[in-house]
Symmetry: C2
Subunit: 306 residues, 2 copies
Amino acid sequence: MNILAVGSIAYDSIKTPFASGKGVLGGSLTYFSLAAKYFSRVSIVGVVGQDFKRQHLNLLRKHGINLSGLKIANGKTFRWSGIYNYDLNNRETLSTQLNVFKNFNPLISPRHQNIKTVFLGNIDPVLQLQVLKQIKSPKLVVVDTMNYWIEKKRKILRRVLRQTDILIINESEARQLAGQYNLSKAAGLIVGQMEATRRAGKATLLIKQGEYGLLMFHRRGWFSLPAIPLERVFDPTGAGDSFAGGFVGCLASQKTVTDRALKKAALYGTIMASFAVEKLGPFGLTSLSRAKINTRLNALRLITRI
Amino acid sequence: MNILAVGSIAYDSIKTPFASGKGVLGGSLTYFSLAAKYFSRVSIVGVVGQDFKRQHLNLLRKHGINLSGLKIANGKTFRWSGIYNYDLNNRETLSTQLNVFKNFNPLISPRHQNIKTVFLGNIDPVLQLQVLKQIKSPKLVVVDTMNYWIEKKRKILRRVLRQTDILIINESEARQLAGQYNLSKAAGLIVGQMEATRRAGKATLLIKQGEYGLLMFHRRGWFSLPAIPLERVFDPTGAGDSFAGGFVGCLASQKTVTDRALKKAALYGTIMASFAVEKLGPFGLTSLSRAKINTRLNALRLITRI
């Protein structure tokens, strides 16, 4: 199955206690697509500047990512700089230079408008809504967002959520979005918002908990999945997007979105995130095989088997 | 099966955003025994002051706890006062008055010396070692400790650990004890210390992660179990001891300590902790039934079923 993914491509400057680098290939689209491609075909819609390196275009192409929706604009590629301390769950953003991303206007080509599975990375909800308007008959819409948009553009974000099948956010974002500290109550409120104009039971909320794994909530109940205890975590950047890539990639490769399919997708998402954090940048994702992925999947199954 | 539990009994003053109380019955022994008694017989060894209320003695007695090892000493009962903010995972200790606990000298009666399953609550490792010396042929020794003892009495704590089958601590304590931030590596180091004088594969480490559940580690691998998402968490005081109570209680009721038995015990521990936090003090534990416990057990199984 095909996935249309809209989001950012960036050059990151990253500092962790274990690794650091400047101008590291990053952005939600990069991690998402390099994780999703093991399961489904991915077409990305994004923008880079004229400084974007040919080798990075080639890397994405080599991995079978469809780049026909990637615009190379006048100016510089989006840049993000951040630092992690020992508690890799928390990071501090040192600088954000939007550059060409400032004028990002996601135009979806006629061919892409027919894709049924859409991933909207963490971008302005105005743009997310603009993308959704162009998609002819979406079957599965998966959305990411962040504290900034929840605070600044809550109203338009709500409009996006009412068209969202699966929302992937972290704990503090879930609390902020619901205006409720208790995560259990917050999840109910968010799914309620997502289902405001649709039949109950349609929406799923995925709460990312970093090294603690994830919680999945829908009207049928909760599902919990731990992360894999890793001896070497070099760089958590992109872990959430890699999770989303494995998750949406796996889900799109299955016929229908059953509870079983959602759980399987969450397993693969967790695996892809675990590979992503073992190297600086997205390079933990670029030399995998289905055999390597399945070996780790079996490890995760063992950890959770009662 | 019988369990011998050594630890503290206290009157707590607790303030959370949802509930508060003064002179609330508490201490590790209280939570532990009220949770464990649903699975095994429990004898406690501890000390209270002359201010300890008859109604609280009666409460413990009514629940079948053997109090022959409970000393009523001259002076006041141990008092602890603490405050939780919205993030119930963190608490601030406002005051600790050891009172009669200062001169606690755990003497084990000849009858109790024959008990095979021993739980050593979070007390001075000097006292933990003193208890272990009196036990004739312990088969299962489960130990709790805290940052204070890890910092102040590391050497003697190590001696305790070499006689410990199962150590139950939280994440920061595991990191501190191992001198290693990475939890995966830390677990290996701690189990190594515990097995220093015994054959490999004998020791189990349980890392409590509060609302995120727990990680269990031994030479055969990891096991992860989430907590139950709760809509009402009133008071996390005693959650760890309630977990230990359900865990050790269940384990003692089984013939041998297999991996299967350890997992089952972890499930019941998690359930008992979930009941404990729903009320102020230990009163979430005092009116349960096996039916109520098993209903929640089934909920936990559903949440974790892949």
